[in-house]
Amino acid sequence: MKLTRRQALALSFGATTLAVLGVPTTRAWANTEATEKAIKEFTGGAAPEAGRITLDAPEIAENGNTVPISVSVESPMSGDDYVQSVTLLADGNPNPAVATFHFTPLSGTATATTRIRLAKTQNVVAVAKMSNGAVFSDTKLVKVTIGGCGG
């Protein structure tokens, strides 16, 4: 069979589309399990409760390369009652770890803002560890229009 120019073009477009669609399935994306494991490692096994922590993320992120994320935890931030650290996890990235903030009573408040990369639409989880060992978490679903992992 001899290919016309038109057919050849159509074929190559089809192949490209397949290759693009094939990416998420062939890559080892982080998943809920890996995220849960990361949470356990961070908390030392304690199950996180809801409340006290607020995760602010856009509902829809047009560009997955820079998604602004804010996290704040209610705490007096005094000498013996403060937020030790807050970890950010993204369950749809190749690796769930994003960033871990460490606070001290000198921080004044346990709030932090940064910009993160999200490969696709996914849940962003923030887990806070208090100085007394209590653990709180919050989750937000962020819809990503253009993924940000250079795929």
């Binding site: 903030f101 803002t113 940064t114 999200l118």
Partner: protein, 108 residues
């Protein structure tokens, strides 16, 4: 790439016990290690992996970074100032180099 250049915003004056907001940004590509070059070879990871902020030598805020932090990592956080002093900011690169900056604040 040019040497990473830190940019910092700290108020120059504050009242005693005030909680001030600090904004920092450093120019850095944060190469994730996930991307591939034209020949299909993975580009090696090169990110800032740690950021710390101290006030008069006391730790205020620090962060461990993963490749999922955007290029030109930006941080906004707070600090409670009880006395005049100097904030010191340090970024640690994957290749071991560190970049630092200082900022003075006066308590009235």
């Amino acid at each position: 790439m040019a040497t990473p250049k830190p940019r910092i915003k700290v108020p120059s004056k504050a009242a005693k016990g005030e909680v001030v907001t600090i904004k920092t940004l450093i120019s850095h590509e944060m190469e994730s290690g996930q991307r591939k070059d034209k020949e299909g070879k993975p580009i090696p990871r090169k990110i800032i992996n740690k950021f710390t902020c101290t006030f008069n030598g006391q730790p205020v805020f620090s962060c461990d970074l993963a490749p999922a932090v955007s290029a030109n990592p930006y941080f906004e956080f707070t600090a409670k100032v009880m006395e005049s002093g100097t904030f010191e900011f340090t970024w640690v690169d994957d290749d071991g180099s560190t970049y630092s900056a200082k900022n003075k604040i006066t308590v009235q």
